[in-house]
């Protein structure tokens, strides 16, 4: 039985596990340490943990100041507040001066569930990607998240990473030849008729969809795009050339996320049908996370529908 853990859970374990190896790592939270999973770090390393209270704008600035003094701050709050409320602090106090701060946005996407639309951030890839020089990550499972955290600790510069609330099946640990590298997507399943480029929890959905499609004689390639920005253009171009059409899949507005980036890139170098699977420019609502995802078509069935559309466009 594969491990099932939320990426926020794996993140919380990873920062504790890596704290000794990276003494400059300091962790800031905005009164959500139980939810963002930084509580274990706060207990293990209280002198390196700062609870900044419900004041995200100030938290970003304090992290910037710590970074100018050689610390490697990881700021933690919900994606909504990191990439939304504190957008301009991230832009002007962290990204413009290129300070070594990692902005972590937990509870990204609709899978927040019961808390509803005010807390379901479907815009974070867009706001963070539009900042010049910003690295934007969205690992899909616990295994990938642990690798991403260490990669971020070895990356000098500003970055944003989304974490998910919902427990998801770990899939990347059993993929042969899997290797994590910032900015490089991973081919999780090969295929020749269509490519599904997914990120975060839709990666697992894409694998399920590909399995179902194979029963219908459709060979779908599945790419795990853990890095939204910079886009792995080499991998995307190869997929476009070899499979002739692409479906992007993300728990994000179809505007300004992975789908927009893939479509924009391909239109410039190799016009190819791209169909975007994601949240179709609407706000979410309350409900159990799986039910909310289902209600907005964020499901293997939703991906299959887009694959059929892409295949029609290809002809």
């Amino acid at each position: 039985m594969a491990e099932k853990i939320a990426t926020r859970g794996a993140y919380g374990e990873a920062i504790v596990a890596l704290a000794e190896k990276y003494p400059a790592l300091v962790v800031l939270d905005a009164d959500l340490s139980g939810a963002t999973m930084t509580k274990a770090f706060s207990k293990a390393y209280p002198e390196r943990f700062f609870n900044m209270g419900i004041a995200e704008a100030n938290m970003m600035g304090v992290a910037a100041g710590l970074a100018t003094c050689g610390k490697m701050p990881f700021t933690n709050t919900f994606a909504m507040f990191a990439a939304g409320r504190a957008f301009e602090q991230v832009r002007n106090s962290i990204a413009y001066p290129r300070l070594n701060v990692k902005v972590i946005g937990s509870h990204g996407g609709l899978s927040v569930g019961e808390d509803g639309a005010t807390h379901q951030c479907v815009e974070d890839f867009g706001t963070m990607s539009t900042i010049p020089g910003m690295l934007v990550l969205n690992p899909c499972d616990g295994h990938e998240m642990r690798l991403a955290v260490e990669a971020l600790l070895n990356y000098e510069g500003p970055a944003y990473m989304r974490l998910g609330r919902l427990a998801v099946e770990t899939v990347t640990d059993t993929i042969e030849g899997y290797r994590f590298e910032l900015g490089k997507g991973v081919t999780l399943r090969d295929g020749s008729d269509v490519t599904i480029a997914a990120t975060g929890l839709t990666v697992q959905m894409a694998l399920t969809a590909a399995q179902q499609l194979s029963g219908e004689g459709i060979s779908a390639r599945v790419l795990d795009m853990h890095t939204i920005k910079p886009l792995d253009t080499e991998l995307i171009l190869k997929a476009a050339q070899e499979t002739g059409c692409i479906v992007t899949s993300e728990e994000h507005n179809i505007y300004n996320g992975l789908g927009s980036a893939v479509a924009a890139y391909l239109s410039e170098v190799c016009p190819t049908p791209v169909v975007r699977h994601g949240v179709e420019d609407v706000f979410g609502r309350s409900g159990k996370a799986p039910a909310v995802l289902e209600a907005y078509g964020i499901s293997p069935a939703g991906i299959i529908e887009k694959v059929k559309k892409a295949l029609r466009l290809k002809k």
Binding site: F50, G61, A67, T68, C69, Q89, N92, S93, P97
Partner: protein, 278 residues
Amino acid sequence: MDKKQLAITATKARLLALDMVHTAASGHIGGSLSALDALTVLYFNKMRVDPSNPRSLGRDRFVLSKGHCSPALYATLALRGFFPVEACKLFRSIEGHMSGHAEMHHVPGVDMSTGSLGQGISVAVGMALAGKVDAKDYRVYTLLGDGECQEGQVWEAAMAAAKYKLDNLCAIIDHNGLQIDGSNDEVMPIMPLDKKFEAFNWNVLTVNGHDYEALDAVYDRAASFNNGRPTVIIMETIKGKGVSYMENDPGWHGKAPNDEQYALAVAELEAYLKELEG
């Protein structure tokens, strides 16, 4: 430096700031002139900085939270020897990297890039926090505008500084009473600032921001507190100080003088300089 030397240096800095804004035909002169006496005393008499090693780890740090007053900071740093005075000719020019708001990567001696109001004080809190965590003895200074205190983030930072007992932090408020659209009172009243900061558990000091001896003493007083509280110095100043037709006129917040106005300002400051050096 003694009082006279400080006055001479501040006057030269005023001339340089005016030259920058006039050459660029843009920039924020009013608030630069109001802050220049405080900056001169700070950089020439108080801060432990080494112009030949601007990033030394043990240095005192300064964050210009009112980042638009970069002419004052750049002029002070140039006169302090961080870079040649001639470099200021490229202020706000595409030919150089001396950005309109304070810029840390291209201007030696600038400790943080600022410009968006309310953000610098948070960064100063982070620097002071790092000093406490690492048991370093450097001090962190940050200069805010009075209008800037309308930003909510200032008060988030004030809470955090008190929580972490940052008595190595000193915020200076340039209280000239004016902002772009008019007086603080017309736009959005901020008083009483002293009671606000007291309520946020800070030490509060007040000073005449154009009295060199008082400034010299107030920085020492701020550094002498050993009570686990950050200190704010509320500095009474005159916007446009030193150029009589600019003084107390919010119209000079972000406007450059034309050639005639510039000549008038230079004549006034040079006459004062001559008198001081006389």
